[in-house]
Point group: C2
Chain length 328, copies 2
C-alpha cells in the first residue's frame, strides 16, 4: 500500500475533468480497471469520462457502468488529466487517444505489465501485481474510497480474469488478500467466475470434442490440428488459448501445441500456432525463431502455409527443444 | 477462530498417543487434513499414527508425510484418542476403525460436511468452512502451531482441491484469508494447483474428445453418454465429475448430465448419473427421487439398467425440472 506513486495521488486530487482509457482487444482487467477507476473518481466527486477503442463485448456488458463507456468519436479535446489503465504503451489504446488533439494534457499511467514503456507524465507501474485491478485496490484504499458495491465488483472481475481465478503462477498472497477485501465489500466471486471463465457456447464444446478425439502425441509433445471447417461449426475462437492450455494438462506431455488454420489478410492460408510448456521446459525460443513471441510457459506465432506445411516445419523444432530440456 | 470447540483443544492437550483417520475414496481434503493434523500433533510433541482405508493414490504421494500413512492391518488397539478428519459418519472411514477393537477410546470429529452425524465424543463440525483443511488453519492458530512448511503445503492442498481452486460457490473471503496465510507460510499455490487439478492422462483427454463429439442438447438440458468400451480406453474414471462440470459451462444449457455405464457388484449393468445445474435451477430433487443425493447445483445417483434404459427414465425428469425452474 505504501508503494503508490505520490504524484498520482496529488494529480487525482488537483484535477477535476478526467478522461480514463484502456487498451484495445480489452480483457476483464481492461474493463475492470477502467470502470473501477471511474467509480473511484466518481466517489471523489470528479467529472469522469470513460472511453474505449472497441465496443463493449457481451460478457462484460453486465459490469456496473459498462454502458457509460464512450466510443473514440465521442471523446472531446479538453480534459485536465488522462489516465491510461492496463496499457503498456501509448499505441495500445487505439484511436481513443489522439496525439494532435490531446497533446499537452498530463498523462497518468497505471499498469502492471513488466513491458510498460513509462510513456506518461506520471507512471505507476507494478509488475509484482497480477492485475491492474489489484493496484486499484491499493489506490482506493489510499484515497479512502470504500471497496464496496460496483467498485468491488469491477475490481474483482479484473483480478479473477487475469489470474484465471487464482491459477496463474503470479497469484501471490497479496492477490488473495486483495480479493478477500473485495468479497468482504460485497463482490460475488462465484457469479464473477461463472460469468467470465465458466462460459462457452455449445459449438466450442463440440469443437473441443472433434479436436480432442484426434490428438497426436510423440516424443513428449502433444498437439492438435483445428481446420477452418471445424472452426466454422464452432463459431469464432480467435485468440482462445483454452485448448492449448487443456492439452498441456496431459500427464505424458512436456510441451503442447495447437495449430489453427486461418485465412490471412491477403486471402492466403496461414496457421496460428499456440505453444505451452510444463515447468522446466521452454517454448519461448521456438516461437521467437518463427517470428512470434511469448513466455517460457506460453508462446505463439502465425505462419503462412497449410496445416500440413506448417506442422512439418514446427513439430521437429518442438520435439528438439523438448529433448534438450528433458536431457538437462 | 473463536469458534473452535474448547473440549477439542483440551483433548489434544491431555492425550499423547493419537490415531488420526480419514475417509475412504480419499480426495485432497482427506489427505490434506489427515497429514495436516499429523504435522500439528507432531509439532506439539505427540505420538501420532495416521491411517487410511485406501492405498495412497499417486497424485498425493508427494504430499509431505504421505509415506507414513499406514494401512488398516497395521492399526493397533491402544490409543488415547482417535481423531476422525473430513468424515461425516463413522462408516465413512472403512476398515481402519473397528468397533470391537477401538470401543472405549474417546473419538474427536473434525469435519466441514453439513451432513455430519455428530458421531464422536467431541464434535467440531463447521459447514461454513469450504474444507476441513480450512478448519485446521484455525486449529493450528489456536494451538500456536506455525502455519509453515509441510503443514502449510498439506492444508493448502485440501483447500485448493475442495474449492476447485476457489471456484466453488462456498469460496468465502475467509477461505481466501486462510489460503493467504498458508502462502505467506511458504506453500506454493501454483505447484499445488498444477499437481492436483491441472493433470490428467492422455486417455482421459481422448475420452473427453469422444464424449464431447457426441453431445446431446434438448430443452435446456445437455447430456453425454459414456460407454464401458469408451471408459476402457481411458482408464479408470470413477468418481470423476469433471466432465459433468464441463458440460454445464455451455451457455445454452441450464442443466447437464453425464451417464456412465458400469458393472455393479452383482455383475449387472448399471449407470452412474451425474447432474449439474446453473444458479436458479435445482437437480437435488431429481437425484433424491432416484435414490441418490447431493446439492441443488450438483447431484447424482446410480441406477440399474443399460444406458438406453436409464436415459429413457432420467431425461424426461431432468427436462421437466428444467421447465419448472425456467418458468418461475
Amino acid at each position: 500500500m505504501s508503494m503508490i506513486e505520490p504524484s498520482l495521488i496529488q494529480a487525482i486530487h488537483t484535477h477535476n475533468h478526467i478522461l480514463c482509457i484502456s487498451h484495445v482487444n480489452p480483457d476483464g482487467d481492461a474493463y475492470g480497471s477502467l470502470l473501477g477507476m471511474g467509480w473511484i473518481l466518481h466517489h471523489l466527486g470528479k467529472q469522469v469520462v470513460l472511453a474505449m477503442h472497441d465496443q463493449t463485448s457481451k460478457e462484460f456488458q453486465l459490469l456496473p457502468g459498462a454502458h457509460q463507456i464512450i466510443a473514440p468519436n465521442a471523446v472531446a479535446d479538453h480534459y485536465d488529466l488522462i489516465v491510461f489503465l492496463d496499457a503498456s504503451s501509448r499505441d495500445r489504446v487505439g484511436s481513443v487517444y489522439q496525439e494532435n488533439r490531446h497533446q499537452g494534457i498530463p498523462v497518468a499511467v497505471i499498469d502492471h505489465h513488466v513491458t510498460n514503456t513509462y510513456f506518461g507524465d506520471i507512471n505507476w507501474v507494478r509488475p509484482d501485481c497480477a492485475a491492474t485491478c489489484q493496484m486499484l485496490v491499493y489506490l482506493a484504499d489510499a484515497l479512502q474510497v470504500p471497496l464496496t458495491g460496483a467498485l468491488a465488483e469491477c475490481l474483482l472481475t479484473g483480478i479473477v480474469t487475469d489470474t484465471l481465478c487464482f491459477r496463474t503462477s503470479n497469484t501471490t498472497a497479496e492477490v488473495l488478500e486483495a480479493a478477500m477485501h473485495l468479497i468482504r465489500g460485497g463482490a460475488d466471486l462465484a457469479t464473477i467466475t461463472q460469468r467470465t471463465l465458466n462460459q462457452r457456447s455449445l459449438g466450442v464444446l463440440k469443437l473441443w470434442g472433434m479436436v480432442l478425439s484426434e490428438l497426436h502425441f510423440e516424443e513428449g509433445v502433444i498437439w492438435a490440428l483445428i481446420s477452418r471447417e471445424q472452426l466454422k461449426t464452432a463459431g469464432d475462437l480467435s485468440g482462445d488459448g483454452q485448448l492449448s492450455s487443456m492439452l498441456i494438462t496431459a500427464l505424458e506431455a512436456d510441451i503442447s501445441a495447437t495449430f489453427t488454420e486461418k485465412i490471412d489478410e491477403k486471402g492466403l492460408s496461414a496457421v496460428e500456432c499456440s505453444f505451452r510448456a510444463k515447468p522446466g521446459f521452454n517454448v519461448a525460443t521456438v516461437a521467437l525463431e518463427l517470428g512470434g513471441g511469448g513466455h517460457p510457459a506460453a508462446s505463439g506465432c502465425t505462419l503462412p502455409g497449410t496445416l500440413a506445411e506448417v506442422t512439418t516445419k514446427v513439430l521437429p523444432a518442438l520435439k528438439q527443444v523438448r529433448a534438450i530440456y528433458a536431457n538437462q
